[in-house]
Structure formats: C-alpha cells, structure tokens
C-alpha cells in the first residue's frame, strides 16, 4: 500500500510514518499542502492522509485542489478541531472520512484500510479482510485460496459488510438491501442468515459481531 501523509507537526508525522512503514506500507510525508496535487500526478498512491491545520494552504484548500484536478483518491482528514464546521466543510469538499486528534493508532490504520478497500471495491477489484477475500466481479468469496459457498443473500450481505468494515451496519439497512425483504422481515430471519454467514467466514480471521439492539459489525478478528 502506498500512502501520502500530509502533516506539519514533525513528531506526529514521524510517528505515523514509522507505524505505517512497520506494516509494510510505503509512506511519503509532506509538511505542506502546496506540493500535494503535483505529487498525486507523479506517484500512484492508494490513500491520502491530510491534516486540516497546515501552514500555507490548509488541508481543506489542498483537498479542493486535488478534487479539482479530477483525483478520486481516498482521503482521510485529520483535525485538532472537532467543531461542527470543520467536519461539514471537510466532508462536503470531498473528504471520505475524518479523524479527530488524538486518535488511537489502530483506529487510524483501520480507517485507512477501510477507505482503500472501499475504493478498490468501487473499481471492481476484489476486497480482502484478513484471510477473507471477496471477488466483486465474480461475486465469489475465498478463505485463503479456498472458495466458500455463499447463497445470493449472504453474498449481498457480505459485500456490504466488507464495504463498511469496522462500522456498525444497522439491521434495517440489510432489510433494504436484500431483494424480497422489507422492514416487516423479522430480526430472527436476519440473525439466522448472519449466524450461517458467520460460520462460513470467521475461519478467515474475521469476526462478525452482533451489536445488541442495533445491527452487525465485521472486523478483523485481532485488532491490528
């Protein structure tokens, strides 16, 4: 994975870059926003981690320039301010996600992975989570190299859960997703579907959690 990290606070930039590199991610660091658009044209990045509070043009302006030159690169914004304004401004200007400092490292890495996964998925590539891999084109799932048998409904549900890895997916969203199901479909039917799916995919090093009263959550079995 190739990441561009734009952060002007040197200690934080160094820490984050070291943590990413130790996971085998190629990581480039910039302390300013101005050179970012040119860097994106020159190198093929998988994700951009962009601090909002930068000297010179700030993160939001940098983001506007990137989007203006037609880049769809996944962008995770970092901010030391969590006022309503920052969030709305950042997301409306085309950020894919944001994190408020001081974040947990595991959270940052999980968010970057999720962004990249979603991006790849949109490009019709396969998505992977731990040893679980889902081929979006062929609509087939694998644990390692072994294909697993999924029903059509399980396929839709898994695809959606992979897209939302690390996030709770409320129950009613599944009802809307599955053809023939609606709000009247019982929670029991959904739970039955989930427990079957769980048995099939959890050998792949993932965990499908039930969030009591709310929905379901797919995550790697052990936090990175």
């Amino acid at each position: 994975m190739h990441i561009l990290l734009v952060e002007d606070d040197e200690p934080l930039a160094l820490s984050l870059a070291a943590a990413m590199r130790s996971r085998g991610w190629r990581t480039d660091v910039s302390s300013r926003g101005e050179p970012v658009p040119a860097s994106l044209l020159r190198d093929d990045y998988d994700a951009l981690v962009l601090d909002i509070g930068l000297p010179g043009i700030d993160g939001l302006e940098t983001l506007r320039r990137i989007r203006a030159q037609g880049s769809f690169l996944p962008v995770l914004m970092l901010t030391a301010r969590d006022g309503v304004d920052d969030r709305v401004a950042g997301l409306e200007d085309g950020a894919d996600d944001y994190l408020v400092k001081p974040f947990a490292l595991s959270e940052l890495l999980a968010r970057i992975r999720a962004l990249v996964r979603r991006h790849e998925f949109r490009r019709g590539e396969s998505i992977a989570l731990a040893a679980l891999r889902f081929d979006a084109g062929a609509r087939r799932a694998y644990v390692g190299e072994r294909p697993i048998n999924l029903s059509a409904r399980e396929c839709i549900v898994l695809q959606y859960l992979l897209l939302k890895t690390g996030q709770i997916v409320p129950r009613d969203q599944f009802a809307a997703l599955i053809p023939g199901w609606d709000a009247a479909t019982s929670d029991n039917a959904l739970e039955l579907l989930m427990s079957r799916l769980r048995a099939k995919i959890e050998p792949g090093g993932v965990r499908l959690r039930t969030v009591r009263g709310l929905g379901y959550l797919l995550e790697p079995a052990a936090a990175a």
Binding site: L12, A18, V84, P102, L105, S106
Partner: protein, 470 residues
C-alpha cells in the same frame, strides 16, 4: 423594601424624604400662624369698631352745664341704656366718668379699671369684671372747659371674640392641611418614582448569572443613575470578555494538546506492539494508559468550554435531531472501547426527536458510555435506550455493575468528584459535562440504581421536539 440597605446604612429614600419634608414641618405651622393672624385681625377690628360705636353714641349723650362748664351730666334714659347694651351674643357694660373721675352713669367698677385716656384718643384693653373676662374700649371725650376729659368705657364679654378666634383657627388648620398633605403625598410619590429605575436596575443586576452577563437596560433610567448603570455595564462587559477569554484559553489549550497527545498514543501503542521485558512492558502500559486518559481529559475540557460558550451565544440555534440516530452514530465510536473493557454494549432505540446541538449531545452520550466503561467493570451489560414518552424524549444508559451508594449519587454531578468505589481512570468530569450539556438543552439528568436494583442508570429527559410536522 427589605434588603441589606436597611441595616444601619443610609437610605436614599429616607434622606430624600427628610430633606423634602423638613422645611414643611417648619413652614406649615408658621404659615398656619400667619393665616390665623391675618384672618383674626379684621374680625377683632370689627368687634372693636362696634365698641367704639357704642362709646361714640354715649359721648353724644354727655351734657355740659351751660352755666357751670365744669358740671357734666349723663342724661341717659333706661330705654337708651338698654338699647346701647343690646347684643345677641355678648353682655355689654359701659361706664362714663366726669373729668374728676366720678361716675356719671353705668358700671362703677368698670370705670375703675379704665386707664387714663388723653382727649380724642382711644385705648383698648382686656379686663376682668366679677371674675368674667371682658374686652373693653376706653375713650377720652373732651367735655366742658378746654382740657377737660370725660372717660367713656365700653366693654363686652368674649363670646364673639372667641367665635372669631375659633373660625380663624379652623381656617388656618384647614389651609395648612390643604398645603401639607398634598405636599407630603407628592414628595413620597416623587421619591418613589425617582428611585424606581434604581430598583429596576438592581433587580436586573440581581438576575445576572456568570453564564448570562447581559447588560442592564439603561433606557428610561435618569441621567444620574444612567451613569452608574453604564459603569456597571462596562464592568459586565469586561467580566464577559474575561470569561470568554478564559473559555477560549481552555479551548485553545485543549486543542494545542491534541497533536502531542496523538503522538504519545501512537508511540505508546507502537512500542507496546514490540517484544519487551516485563518491567519495560509495565511502564509502557502505564504510559499508554496515561496517554489515553490525557486524551479523554483534553476532550472533556474542550466539551465543557464549548458547552459554556454555546450557552452564552444567542446566535446559535438548535437543530432538530433524533436521539435514536444520534445513538446509532455514537455506537460506532464507543463499541470498540466497550468491547476492550470486556463489556456488552447494547442498544434499545426508538425515535425520540429533540432540538439540540449534535456535537454536544454526542459528547453527552459518549460520556455516559465512558462512565459505564469506567465504573461498571468487565462483564457488565450496558444498554443505551431512547424513548419518547409523555412529551419527553428520554435517553438512558444503564449498566448492571456495582452501582453507586445512594448517598454518593448527588455528589457525582460535581466536577472532579468520583464515587468512592470508582475504578478505572476517570477524571470525574464526565457527569459534570453530562449535567452541563443537559442544562443547555433544558433537559434534566438523574442518577438512579438500575432497573434490576443493581448497577447504575443515568436518565436524561429532554423536552420532546414536536416542531416537525409528521
């Protein structure tokens, strides 16, 4: 008016009234006396005039002998004498004496009381005859030879005089009252009206709180007091500025802390991932925990500063929100920490519309869940519930942990106060933040044991937002 002003210190009202009414106390009796005198004088003059008329009539009766001009007589018939004495009210007596002082007619003792009066002159005097007070006029009447003077005295009892005095006194008193009473009333009214703006300003100042330092309304306040009110408003503005500067400082400080805290968290987590000796590992774990705690504390301080800032900003308007979707959003952030603490975080959500600030309400719920993580312990079942019941939107977080002793529950709302049996690393700010944010939303927050009798249930009850047409 009851207040500290009454205890020994000077009262503006009393001082004003004293200075306004003191002249009245002196001047009104003086005026009454003057009126009495002025009213009485003509009446007494008229009475004197009646006496002189009688005396003049008597003088016409005095006869001087043609042959012996030293002989003087008073040929007064009984009828004439009765006519002269006739009076409806008073008893009239008279006496006429010859130049030698002998009685020519009338009452002898009265003549003895009369002073010597030169020719053509009058003397008026008061006397007492047989124990009865009289008012008398004495006249020196030239009679006989040149230089001879007869004395004519006419006196009457004081009935008419007394009546005149009573009438004059009554007039004076009524006049004085007619002046004094309206003046006293007007003075009290004027003082009351003058002081009312001051009382209103005082009431305005009384209603101020540290969270609401509004300027006191100076409209309609007299110039002299307006100066005071303006000075007060100046002070309030400076106070407000100082308060917002302090909030800005807390907010800035918390923001500035965030980046170094992020470094600490990242480095501690990375260091923990590598193999270490048990001693170093323990140190790193403590460092990591401290970094997490500091991060949370910075966030809480920021939330408090923001909640206070929002309470003061009249431009901010609440947005229509639903506690149900708010809880769904917050669930993502808090599920992992709750799982890490070995707890089962669950939800029981129904629509509950409120009007509020989403960031603050997310903080409120986050703090409640964090509180459960800190206090309920591993294995606890924590449930977030939203409901709308009887005009209220309810948000509760309940756990089945060890709970809190009943006598400690109220103290938990105070900043930096933690329960006796508290475990974990909470700052004690969490519930104070919950209380602040609830207050800002017109909501009430209560702590009680959980429904099973175990654990703790924090319930925040908001006014239901029914502004949206279904």
């Amino acid at each position: 008016m009851n207040g500290p002003a009454d205890t020994g210190s000077s009262s503006l009202r009393r001082t004003l009234l004293v200075w306004l009414l003191l002249p009245l106390v002196g001047l009104v009796p003086l005026t009454a006396l003057l009126v009495y005198g002025l009213a009485l004088r003509p009446a007494l003059d008229a009475l004197d005039h009646a006496l002189t008329d009688t005396a003049v009539a008597l003088a016409q009766i005095v006869e001087v002998d043609r042959n012996d001009r030293r002989r003087v007589t008073l040929p007064l018939s009984e009828q004439t004498a009765r006519a002269l004495r006739a009076d409806l009210i008073d008893e009239t007596v008279f006496a006429v004496g010859d130049p030698q002082g002998h009685l020519l007619g009338g009452n002898s003792p009265l003549l003895a009381l009369a002073p010597a009066v030169p020719a053509g002159q009058w003397r008026f005097f008061d006397a007492s005859l047989q124990g009865r007070p009289l008012h008398a006029a004495a006249h020196g009447h030239p009679c006989g030879d040149a230089g001879q003077v007869c004395t004519i005295v006419v006196a009457e009892t004081l009935g008419k005089q007394d009546a005149a005095k009573r009438a004059a006194l009554l007039g004076a008193l009524v006049g004085a009252a007619a002046i004094a009473l309206p003046l006293v009333g007007l003075a009290m009214l004027a003082v009351g009206r003058t002081l009312r703006p001051l009382q209103r300003a005082a009431a305005d100042v009384e209603s101020l709180t540290p969270q609401r330092l509004e300027a006191v309304d100076a409209r309609g306040v007299p110039r002299e007091i307006a100066g005071f009110v303006h000075a007060l408003n100046g002070l309030l503005a400076r106070l407000k500025l100082a308060a917002s500067a302090q909030r800005a400082f807390v907010s800035d400080a918390a923001h500035q802390l965030r980046t170094p805290l992020a470094v600490m968290r990242v480095e501690a987590a990375e260091a923990l991932a590598a193999p270490h000796s048990p001693e170093v590992r323990t140190s790193l774990e403590r460092l990591h925990a401290a970094a997490e705690r500091s991060s949370h504390l910075a966030q809480q301080l920021l939330t408090l500063a923001r909640a206070e800032g929002m309470a003061l900003d009249p431009m901010l308007t609440r947005q229509p929100l639903d506690l149900e979707s708010l809880a769904t959003g917050v669930a993502n952030r808090w599920l992992q920490p709750s799982l890490d603490a070995g707890q089962d975080l669950g939800f029981d959500l129904e629509p509950a519309p409120v009007a509020g600030y989403s960031t603050l309400l997310e903080e409120l719920l986050g703090n409640l869940i964090h509180n459960a993580i800190e206090h309920a312990g591993a294995g606890a079942r924590v449930t977030v519930q939203t409901r709308s019941i009887a005009g209220r939107a309810l948000l509760s977080v309940e756990d089945d942990g060890p709970g809190v002793a009943a006598d400690e529950i109220e103290q938990l709302w105070q900043r930096f106060r933690r329960g006796h049996a508290a475990r974990g690393s909470g700052s004690g700010l969490g519930l104070a933040i919950v209380a602040d944010i609830a207050r800002l939303h017109g909501a009430s927050a209560t702590l009680a044991p959980g429904e099973s009798g175990r654990g703790l249930r924090v319930l925040v009850s908001f006014p239901l937002d029914d502004s949206r047409v279904a």
